[in-house]
Symmetry: C2
Subunit: 197 residues, 2 copies
């Protein structure tokens, strides 16, 4: 399974944002919407072997939305449709246990620490510009479960970095150009698709 | 310069589409909007060395919108903002000559044949699943002006294919998975960024 974890530092945990102005009213949930489509959407369907965790830290209590490709329905490639699915997920009173809000989409309270705990049996990879280049020999070993951890436009805090590296994550770079999270996910999917072993 | 040409077979040439339902009212202009952001947007700005041609074939008379990174302004990473810029471009009565509608955005009547004529001094690359793999020795030669030609969700017609290959385009593939146009553009930008020569 391919896991993508995207941390939205300002991303709202409330459904009260406007689909007419997603960037301006949701704490940049648009970044997370594009990350979701980058993770799942291919030309004739969606990837079944992908699972996405969106960590939303822009409310009083953190929430996490999980999307699982195997059962995910109603996902279209456009940003607004994805935002509407997330809005539905945020409309449910979240608890520390996962609640399914539409097919393949789940919500709970909790943030990055809980996600890292969920993924402790996967190989953890933290994407950062100064990491080991993905084109090196490391890419040959992306077999089994791998979880890729990405920040949003504000980057990770020192506390989050400590938590991620403390969980054993390797730090890997996609190259010299600093890219948006969704573009990084497109590249990682391509690496995993084309990786010969 | 990196050129990206995206052909929207159903894409509207009229500004009368709804920003509240771009996929459903514009002949899938959403695909072209995402292609634009994939082509230009990086973490802290936009790529200056990119130029995008959107070929809109969903009206009585074809139109082409050209976006030039060097002077492009007001482009945000979200889909709706891009659609609003294209709406402005389509609001101008187009002629066979380029008209600037906002900084770095131009519109004219005409379709793929005219674009291929504009780009005749660039190396032409047509992206298709059964082409030569981009990871082969070919990628080492992407120097100078290169124009990448992509279809939308309906693929190219036989007439368009004949026009493209007749203009001397090489046929190149990004790998085994059939990807959306915007994701192809992300990958091509990455190849051009990381290509050692």
């Amino acid at each position: 399974m391919r896991y993508f974890v995207v941390v939205g530092h300002k991303a709202t945990t409330s459904p009260n944002f406007s689909l007419e102005d997603i960037p301006g009213t949701s704490g940049r949930l648009d970044i997370l919407c594009r990350s979701v489509t980058a993770a799942f959407v291919i030309s004739h369907g969606i990837r079944k072997d992908v699972c996405v965790y969106l960590v939303l830290l822009g409310g009083d209590v953190p929430k996490t939305i999980r999307l699982c490709g195997e059962t995910l329905r109603h996902l279209n490639p456009d940003e607004r449709t994805t935002a509407a699915l997330l809005k539905k997920a945020l409309n449910v009173p979240a608890t520390p246990e996962w609640d399914m809000t539409t097919s393949g989409i789940f919500v709970r309270t909790g943030g990055l620490a809980q996600v890292l705990e969920d993924l402790k049996s996967a190989r953890l990879i933290y994407l950062r510009e100064d990491g080991t280049n993905i084109c090196g020999p490391v890419s040959g070993t992306f077999k089994g479960d791998a979880a890729f951890i990405l920040g949003d436009h504000t980057g990770m805090t020192p506390e989050e970095e400590a938590m991620i590296t403390g969980a054993g994550a390797e730090v890997i770079s996609l190259g010299p150009t600093s890219l948006h999270a969704d573009h990084c996910i497109v590249l990682i999917n391509w690496f995993l698709d084309t990786c010969p072993i």
